[in-house]
Symmetry: C2
Subunit: 266 residues, 2 copies
């Protein structure tokens, strides 16, 4: 029988809520994911929460029941609570049916297999968790090998990033590295580094891509440092016909990724 | 000399802050935009705030000074205040240098000139202000004729939408209409209605587009109603190779819009 917690003052509730904070995620090695859709996606990808909170009334839902059984079978704990506490855990007014606490996983470059895909997404100093999640979602859609985060990026395990990924955090490999580690890793095998830039005349549609293609997107506000651009095998630009000089970072990444995908599929 | 307000209790501050709320925007016909970049974009597009708040120290900045002069010349008022009050107005911890109160404008279909562009963006029941702003930004980049919002969409004049648009709200025409108004308007002239759908075998890369192309994106969670899909001249899909069955709405719109742009440019 699942344990029942209905008191806001319960120390476990406080502890789980603190996972919304980066410092606590780092200290505990755990993170939060919310919602039946995302947790079901996680389960299908073989990732189960160590703690699963569900609101009493939702326990009648087939997918919630399956999740509870899967979590308990895997040695995790399912905890019954109420919608108010779920709201408190998720920080949203409309609470999700379920909130899960997951163990974070290894995000070093070593986890990546560069032969897994012809498309890789690379973002440097990505600051917006919504952008990060959206890029992961695009990564899933184009069957990218993974997302490589360079330098001081927002935490892929943040609640907002997980939410925006719609579960793709669980299906798309993520690695984090400094530029100084990434470049030797990249050059240790086949791979074309393609940078999105304004300072080039090469239109992204006419360019020659070679698999595996590593698509590098720069910081939302500043673009990428000159040093990174210089290290690229190819710089391409996306036409900007209006008043502004940049696209949203997740949009630019997706437009590029779909172009490369179309070329690779012939 | 600009008026100076440094008291949180000033009724004008309260009134301006209330523009973060949809109800107050509707009642007053005004909205908020923040940040020097966005307000400069607005000025270049010929839109000046009726009220401009700036923090004393930022008044030395050239662009701020130019804004103040432009606002006062146009009969608006520039008001000096402090960073704490700017934070309160914008609801952000890092206050922007400037916050402007703008008069909203006509967003009926009548403001649109369908001959203005070969690409139009249409979104129905768009719920996320970040997506709306991002779509406007893409609209600027592809030189779309405008964004047409169908049904119950998030308010394009919301602070979050304006922010995500990075100023494109001021450069890309926006119209709001019910489906029952939109369809006769569309059919009253040339225009191909292209719907993004999962229920088709037509890949977006192989499809035949005719200018002006109206790209219809459905609601983030549910896609578009069957009735809307049936009214489209063409349904196309973007390949989804991963576990998930959908892209972020702003990403899907951008991938489509850039495909149509590339075709139209030959």
């Amino acid at each position: 029988m699942p344990r029942v917690i209905t008191a806001f003052s319960n120390p476990l509730i406080k502890q789980v809520r603190e996972l919304r904070d980066k410092r606590h995620r780092r200290a505990s090695g755990q993170f939060l994911a919310e919602g039946l859709r995302i947790l079901t996606e996680a389960r299908e990808a073989g990732r189960l929460p160590v703690l699963l909170f569900f609101a009493g009334p939702s326990a009648g839902h087939d997918l919630v029941r399956e999740l509870i059984i899967a979590v308990e079978t895997a040695g995790g704990e399912a905890i019954e609570t109420d919608p108010d506490i779920l709201s408190k855990l998720s920080g949203k007014d409309n609470p999700q049916a379920v909130v899960g606490v997951f163990e974070a996983w290894d995000t070093s470059l070593e986890v990546l297999d560069r032969n897994a895909s012809g498309i890789w997404l690379v973002a440097e100093r990505l600051r917006d968790p919504g952008n990060l999640g959206t890029i992961l979602r695009t990564g899933d859609a184009v069957a990218a090998g993974g997302l490589i985060l360079i330098g001081e990026c927002v935490d892929p395990f943040s609640v907002e990033a997980v939410r925006a990924s719609m579960g793709a955090l669980f299906t798309v490999p993520v690695a984090r590295a400094e530029w100084a580690e990434f470049l030797p890793w990249l050059r240790g095998g086949p791979g074309q580094l393609v940078g999105l830039s304004l300072d080039t005349n090469s239109d992204y549609r006419g360019a020659h891509y070679e698999a595996p293609t590593f698509l590098l997107t720069g910081n939302e506000a500043q673009g990428m440092p000159a040093e990174y651009a210089a290290a690229c095998d190819l710089l391409v630009k996306i036409p900007m016909l209006g008043k502004a000089d940049s696209l949203n970072a997740a949009v630019a990444t997706a437009v590029m990724a779909y172009e490369v995908l179309a070329r690779q599929r012939g």
